[in-house]
Symmetry: C2
Subunit: 382 residues, 2 copies
């Protein structure tokens, strides 16, 4: 077997990050081979991907329906794929909670874990980072912000003294509180600078996404919460910044295109030329602007900071309540500003546990989901 | 002798960079000791520095006048200091041509050479980089732009695909050609963002400084001239940027303060906390702007790019003619726009040599200086 070929498992291959990961692999072929693919319900696309990339192992929620495919492969569970000996790097591109157990399986198996799923680290950052230290697994961030921080930290002898996470501010940056009450799902799904899946797009509009990234950055880079700040940068060119002990700041810049952080995670520590990736046209960049986030208009950011600082199972409540609330908003059952109200109420009701286990996290997750559903049983009160 | 103490020689200790180097050493004491000081004519300040830092070796152009000082030290030549066995790192903070022979002596002796003097690399970049490779000397850039590039390149496996040098644009960025004709030395000495010595301040106003930096960047980072561009960034917060094979760009940011690049060169690869160094206040940064340089209004930038590309002794002509022309402008003998005209004419008259030696460089330097003086003998014609 050629050691220069990286054997990938892509969990969530039919989602936005999964599809872009396969785009990168097409561009950089034959440097990578696809050992395994895993997807949820998009059977048509998964069949096409199996046809094109010929993985040895497949997981699909709609497995029975898939079995009519003629291409030979073995079906395995997400955890079996994530820890399989034929897999070198696991790309966790599932959204929401579904990535957690696969991330843990990959980390425990000492894999390179290219992590696009925010919830894994937010819910179980302490467990995952401890397990990674024990097994020697590398966690390679795929989020554009964390990739930026990671790129800026390369070979610095000391760690960062502070991290400045940039945020586009989402489509409602300049809306009033009254306007935010009226926002529809269709409006919220139109992000000004990034093309992403629906969950993360809504989270970007509420700034919950940035809040989750704060918690993620805390675990990935071992930076205390008080040294992580968020700054609104509507052009989404600077993807984040890092400050060092001498006051010097490094930033990473590019047009918003997830294929760059995906590729960097896959080729790290190398960088490979890829003509598909856009280059900044400095003839047409005239300004980069910055604003402070408005925590009154975007309370999800504040809720996430508080949940991160309090730790324990609070971040799991945050994730679970948000995931259910976003689904309810997308289905039209609740309003845009109800997302933060629901998350806040469930966080207030929660009592964290003193010593965190995976079971605590999963029990908390189930409880928080149930509470949101109970609270919105009478949607009219929201 | 304690190995954790870096023994420094500071050539040009009474100039702007030299004084700021001593500021950094005061802040980081006892990490550094001053083994040697060298200065030109500012005897009062040099005496104070000798009193405070107690160097073992001193060079001074006004040496005899200095000998009345009671503090014990040995007087040596610049080259003897630069190559002295008691010196680990040589800070070349002299301005203009005077740093060249000392830089070469330090490089040949395999020292760490913290280089603030642009002219050394511009005139003799090929010789200096070859000698450094042979001796194992490290060239540590002190210019803010080259320090920025150097910081961004740390630990990247591949070299940069392109370099974006930022320029404040100087005090006359928005002047018309007619207004530029009327600029006085007093106006030109007021730089909008940097506090520097007179030569580099005038070079910043003509953009010659940025042109010299292009040539310097070419030699320091082995980047072809066609992959180096200049962009005007009036806030002087981003000090330069580097683009990589995958299109990712890294930038280094800080308030304009030369103590940061000085300190980084002295502590590299570490960064040390220094409460004297300012930190960017993100509450008050609302925009970073960018413009293209106007080569018609600032022809020195174009002249430098051409001289760099042509190579040989052309960059020496550029440096020498500019140095004399800036002196003439500062003395009121010629106008602001005459600087570029004189440099251009002397460059046009010049025939480069085919194989470059230090003797060629010094002969070219002498010739170009003489030609500027000849051409301005009748100043009225300019």
């Amino acid at each position: 077997m050629d050691n220069t070929v990286t054997r990938l498992a892509i969990l969530g291959s039919t989602g936005s990050i999964g599809r872009q990961t396969l785009d990168v692999i097409r561009s950089l072929s034959p440097r990578f081979s696809v050992a395994a693919l895993a997807a949820g319900q998009n059977l048509d696309l998964l069949r096409q991907q199996i046809e094109e990339f010929r993985p040895g192992y497949v997981y699909c929620e709609g497995e029975k329906a898939l079995n009519d495919a003629s291409t030979g492969y073995e079906t395995l569970s997400l955890e079996e794929i994530a820890s399989h000996e034929q897999v070198g790097t696991v790309v966790i591109a599932t959204s929401g909670k579904s990535g957690l157990s696969a991330t843990l399986a990959a980390v425990r198996a000492g894999k390179n874990v290219a992590l696009a799923n925010k919830e894994s680290l937010v819910m179980a950052g302490e467990i995952i980072t401890c397990e990674a230290e024990a097994s020697g697994a590398s966690i390679l961030p795929i989020d554009s912000e964390h990739s930026a921080i990671w790129q800026c930290l390369q070979s610095e002898v000391q760690s960062a003294t502070s991290v400045i996470l940039t945020a586009s501010g989402g489509p409602f940056r300049s809306y009033s509180l009254e306007q935010l009450e009226q926002v529809t799902a269709a409006q919220a799904l139109k992000h000004p600078s990034w093309q992403m899946g629906p969950k993360v797009t809504i989270d970007s509009a509420t700034l919950m996404n940035k809040g989750l990234e704060i918690i993620e950055a805390h675990w990935l880079f071992d930076v205390p919460f008080e040294n992580i700040r968020v700054i609104i940068h509507p052009q989404s060119i600077i993807h984040s910044m890092v400050e060092f002990a001498d006051g010097s700041v490094k930033a990473q810049l590019s047009y918003p295109d997830m294929r760059l952080p995906i590729q960097y995670a896959l080729t790290y520590p190398e960088r490979l030329p890829n003509p598909e990736l856009p280059r900044i046209d400095w003839d047409n960049i005239t300004e980069l602007t910055f604003e402070q986030p408005d925590l009154d208009k975007f309370p999800c950011l504040k809720l996430a900071m508080e949940a991160g600082r309090k730790g324990g199972t609070y971040p799991s409540v945050l994730c679970a309540a948000d995931e259910v609330a976003v689904d309810l908003f997308l289905s039209g059952a609740i309003g845009f500003t109800d997302i933060a109200r629901l998350v806040e109420q469930v966080l207030e009701e929660h009592q964290t546990v003193s010593r965190l286990t995976l079971e605590d996290i999963l029990a908390t997750d189930a409880w928080a989901r149930q509470r949101v559903n109970e609270l919105t049983g009478g949607v009219a009160s929201w």
